[in-house]
Symmetry: C2
Subunit: 448 residues, 2 copies
């Protein structure tokens, strides 16, 4: 006699995206009586909050990446596929991979967001954003090549443009990048060059609103600005970037246009939903918000398709507070765990109360020994905030992959002020013509 | 009155190449009364002996790279230039950089070697070699993508081709690569996949001569072959690769052609001199050997130009033993130190006895706990050899940059058998059509 439970096919959960949302869903389903398939374009989970440390030469890509197969290899019900989902059929309940289709009973979409240039996609070439390992290595290449080019440049004005670093966007990523570049220029690289004085570099942080870290309480924004200024960063608020063109950043302040000659422009200003948002809108009738994120029900599903969940940065969850939940790792993790729990409840004919995000506070790091923390009931900055930031990040890194090595690397950097990963990689580095002939734009530079 | 020593311009030493030879020359001249310029295409020194560990996912590029500026920043007489030397003028005593010229009084050329495909340069696309960080990341990408592709392939024959890894060349690099891939397939990745059994992978090490590690004593070659076989590597000697074409490696054994279907082919078979060899031949009349290396005098200079020295892998030093000195790091280091000393001696009107290489022995690692060592007076293998190998490499790594982190990473891998750096990076990974349609060549595969 055949066991009835064996003859019944397992409930198939397909998870698209191996970021915090997708991975936490998969982890929480590891012992459940379901068939799990996790699909990601990459073979690793990326610990994005530390990506700026790869961009600025402190950590290596592998330090903040964990192979998805490694993390999930003890979940025998879970299959990892390195592939890309390009479409979906809600009738047949299948997702389209490169060249094949995969059936689901429950679908969890957690494909996140990418950079948003507000209609100026051509800025991307000049001002890379920071979402992937490749983005981070490109930023690293540009930052360190700028110092190399300045060292070779005898024209003072051109040299100044090589030594000007513009970070667009005063959110946590912009603050972290600007702080790290200032530490590089004013501390780490100070005695490494012979023709230039790296402490003459300018690091500009440009923010359109009237203060940096807009989601934080104003007093922490002020503290962050003061800390950045102490590090040597020039913080400029209420200033709009209207053009990024070759070596000139055009900004508008009080209606007045100004030109900033700068070779290194880093984009930390905006995000838009990944392509799966559009696919979901077309195939399920899901509503998208202004930046393409998918509006979700209180249980993170789609109103029209209760077996499709959207979590993480791709979701707009409007049911808690005045604003959508922020696009940060803790939201994605909690959403992933919630959805896994709900799937398990449904299997036994139960349901779950709506999702509620538990906010344990916000952190942003500015530099060594400097961070700002908002725990809701208390706000503080300085060394203690920095230690809390280090602790929180190490805690999550170790949870995945025992990346004690990162702690040791940080400890080492902390005491030596060295940055071991400031190597420039990539093919044909010296073929970039802009390194040898860097004519500044004809429009006379005016300021900053 | 002006001090005579001040009015006299400093003796200018230009060093081309920041590998072991160039770097050791620069380090040894750090306190000398000379002006030193070290030129390299990259901004870092690469510890090449460990490059295979980057290729096979144990270490990150930055773990074995040290910024040249960082290493030399306390040598105030030394300038580092990230640039490429494309020509030289022995009359004016200048080297040509991208777009400028640089004068020397003494020139030290240490630009090393690159891969040699014995007239089959088109094999390069299919069978990458291992000289640069980018080479290592390309190998890493191919090795780990092959497992991913096999996991998706349902056709057994095609799957077998994805799980066949061919290493061409049985020297130390080939032995190290083959051993590391076997450890990946048979240990590290064993429980990571659901559709394939990684222990069914084939790792082939092909050597044209009748034994692997030809420069070593025959008994160590035999021991290395036995160790590799225990690890799961199929060692094939006296076999010539006659073609590498898409997914088929054609080999000739006893005059008989055989076809090996394999997607991953790694080249560790031969080297040829870098382009500077040809430039030197044309500009100085220097004699080149069969692979383009420059024949040097007993003091490492050119017969026609005593102020031009060639050191490291680019030099053919025929004055000691029956064969030229081997292309290994200790030779380059000792040559660099010798040349630095000779330059200092010449400044005070003295000279130096001819260069003599002090051979402290040879090492090759096969896998965890497995290495072979030849110290001249004693030869051994196994765990003790492996520890000696680890110690020797850590010793040199720490000398440059206190890369204790590598020791910790190794310790961690040793106890966990994990490989933290098995991430696949690069743009457009999933756009590689060969991953989805992998038609095997029409010629029927015959063997292995």
């Amino acid at each position: 006699m055949v066991d009835a439970t064996e003859s019944q096919p397992m409930h198939r959960v397909v998870i698209v995206g191996g970021g915090f949302g997708g991975l936490y869903t998969a982890k929480a389903l590891g012992r459940a009586p379901v068939d799990v398939t996790l699909i990601d374009k990459r073979n690793f989970h990326l610990f994005q909050p530390l990506l700026y440390q790869v961009a600025t030469g402190t950590l290596s890509p592998a330090d903040i990446s964990s192979p998805l197969r490694g993390i999930l290899n003890s979940s025998k019900n879970t299959q990892v596929l390195m592939d890309e989902v390009t479409n979906l059929d809600t009738q047949k309940q299948t997702v389209t991979l490169k060249g094949e289709e995969l059936a689901y009973d429950t679908l969890v979409v957690a494909t996140g967001v990418s950079h948003h240039y507000f209609g100026n996609d051509h800025w991307k070439q000049t001002a890379p954003g920071l979402k992937t390992i490749e983005d981070a290595l490109e930023m690293r290449r540009r930052i360190f090549m700028a110092f190399e080019a300045a060292e070779k440049e005898s024209d003072l004005e051109k040299r100044r443009a090589w030594l000007t670093f513009v970070v667009v966007g005063g959110g946590p990523t912009g603050v972290e990048l600007a702080g790290a570049i200032a530490e590089l220029a004013f501390k780490t690289l100070k005695s490494d060059f012979r023709n230039i004085d790296t402490t003459e570099a300018q690091v500009l942080l440009l923010e359109g609103l009237d203060r940096i870290l807009p989601p934080y309480p104003p007093e922490l924004s002020a503290k962050a600005e003061a800390s950045l200024t102490r590090l040597g960063v020039t913080v400029e608020t209420s200033v709009l970037v209207t053009n990024i063109d070759g070596n000139i950043v055009t900004v508008k302040r009080d209606g007045q246009e100004e030109y900033i000659p700068a070779h290194t422009v880093l984009w930390a200003a905006g995000v838009k939903a990944s392509a799966m948002g559009q696919v979901l809108a077309e195939r399920t009738g899901a509503t998208l918000d202004r930046v393409g994120r998918v509006m979700v029900e209180p249980d993170l599903s789609l109103a029209t398709h209760p077996n499709i969940f959207i979590i993480g940065d791709l979701a707009n969850f409007p049911h808690q507070g005045d604003r959508p939940l922020p696009g940060v790792a803790p939201v994605a993790m909690q959403e992933g765990e919630y959805v896994a729990k709900l799937i398990k409840q449904r299997l036994v004919g139960q349901t779950l109360a709506p999702f509620v995000y538990q906010d344990f506070g916000s952190l942003a790091v500015i530099g060594q020994n400097e961070a700002v923390v908002d725990l809701g009931f208390v706000r503080f900055d300085g060394l203690l905030a920095w230690f809390l930031w280090v602790f929180a990040h190490i805690y999550f890194l170790i949870e995945f992959d025992n990346k004690l090595i990162v702690l040791l690397q940080w400890g080492w950097n902390y005491f030596t002020r060295k940055r071991g990963a400031r190597i420039i990689t990539g093919e044909g580095l010296l073929n970039d013509e802009s390194l040898y002939e860097a004519p500044l734009n004809d429009r006379a530079p005016v300021k900053v």
